[in-house]
Amino acid sequence: MKYLLVLRWQLIDFILPELRSLFKLYNLPTPEQASETLVEPLATPFHYLELNDEEAKAIDKICSRSVLIHSFYRVLEHGESLSELHEKLKKLPYEVYQQDLYQKTFKFVLYSFNYHWKSKTKYPMFDDIGKCLPHERLGLEVDLNKPDVELFVLFDYSKFDSNRTLIPCHKPRNVYLAFQIGCTGFVDTKYGLKRRKFIGRTSMRADLSFLIANYALVKPGSLVYDPFCGTGSLLIPCSVHGAVSFASDIDWRTIKGDQELLEEKKKRETNQSQSQSQNQKQKQNQKKKYNKKKNQKKSNTKEIDQKRMRLNWEQYNIADKPLEIILMDLTNNNWNSRIKFDAIICDPPYGIREGSKQLGSKKTNEGQSKEIKGSLKFRIPSKKQVGVGELIKYLILFASKSLNIGSRLCYWLPSRIGFKKENIPTHICFKIIDVCQEKLSGGNMRNLIIMEKIIEFDPLNSSHLIIQDSNYSFKKKINEKGMSRKKLAYENRKKKMIQKIKKEKK
């Protein structure tokens, strides 16, 4: 049978790796084998697949968790232009129509890529296609409200220039008439960050975190670990897919939420207000009452604001999936290597929004750490800065010891634009499966690296980690004067201000 896979035309670098991972997860042949057009670079979001029934069922399952597949169809007929489609539909034997459309109500649905059909032309086009179907013999009737069957008319107007950007086009490459089997699109609406209860500065976008769970081949019962969990945004999709999630982070504020701090603050405020009010008791009784009221109001809103990671799990009805949160530093982690993980996924702190840090004191001689004891119940140990390269090294070494064979490590690596794939750190235990690059503002980009463990870690041969360039970071752009852009803008503003003041003085 002929099927049609329609892709979402966004994060284009991420599409084929996702398909490859999901095809592997559901034991299908590679996407390249399924369709000749599913190769790099992708020329269109529409892909014809020749599949048997079992494979079609597997792809339907894939649709249920894919981020970048738009929809999946069983094709009735297709042509390179509308007139060709008309001709082919007229020639199609009656039996083909009979099994799907006999005595049914139906409506047409239009899906057009890279071209907007106006309703003036859209309805005549539907009529023309309808005329080519043997509607009288089938007993077909149109029902726009509750049809039995939805007949999809799909137009592929994709056309690219030399820079691989879409350009307007008025002649379709292909026209399809098909029945929809699967449709995705739940990720943004259901799990979007806008409606999530607990997010932080480093929360990963919902679509990207669902993609990472797919790359990491997360399935029900997988042991998944995120060593830099932050607000846990990467583990939400894993729990949705039924995995056993482990989260750890060095920063207790993001993990525990500001709950403890809030309680502490509340205590302090009430204490202060009490002492203040005692002093002012004789002077101003009215003001005291006002203060009390104010404090009550504040504490109420703060209670609602209590932010916790598990709130998200409750919000998405996945609280019955196992989640373990630990305060831990990856570079001094407490895992014993007996039980191994099925996937390690993370977004390491690059030092932009969240600093890359490890336990230890900055002062090497004294070794004294500043600690707040008692009042906060939790001790805050001193941390010191580590480079991103150093952190990645710890991460890969940890993964090489604590992953099962065939399991995957997915992590983000920051870089400048123009980063070559040869500069990615390699390890003898790992094979690099895919690298997806996303451009960010200011000449920066981040690379999602997907590695698969192929052989067991050998402690005798520990020097097999190769880091090509340890300066993985977003570097500030430096101009000829040796100043960053921000500093340059600041200097210019300063000069203008000085000139203005001088003029005013004159």
Partner: protein, 128 residues
């Protein structure tokens, strides 16, 4: 803190001798029994990897050894023993330490557990 995780954690205090790092001693002040979705394939896969002696010890330290009796060894053909799988699932994933502490057997260093979250962070003097 689930008992599955307790089975995977060890102490990293510098002065602690290698053989005393695992397992950590449990002092539980508040225990909750939650409901977690039962996943047969996961439990079957995880049972052979669990250190059964440590799990028994953990239950004893929490005062639950009478409530949940598990033998010193995994029964043969445990894959088909439905009641055993359910029990293992309950012990590994559904018993949750809300507050309490882990104690390092070698050095006596305490790691507090609060709101189900264990704090395993060390100070710079204790690092390896």
């Amino acid at each position: 803190m689930k008992l599955l995780t307790h089975n995977m954690l060890e102490s990293q205090v510098k002065t602690c001798p290698e053989e005393k790092r695992f397992p950590l001693k449990i002092v539980a002040t508040e225990i909750e029994e939650t409901e977690i979705e039962f996943q047969r394939s996961f439990i079957i896969n995880i049972i052979p990897k669990i250190d059964w002696g440590v799990l028994r010890g953990a239950l004893e330290e929490m005062g639950l050894s009478e409530k949940y009796e598990i033998g010193s060894k995994v029964p043969e053909n445990y894959e088909e023993d439905e009641t055993f799988l359910q029990l293992a699932h309950h012990i590994l994933l559904e018993i949750e330490i809300i507050t309490g502490k882990f104690v390092c057997r070698g050095t006596g260093r305490e790691f507090p557990i609060e709101n189900k979250i264990a704090n395993m962070l060390l100070t710079s003097e204790e690092l390896n």
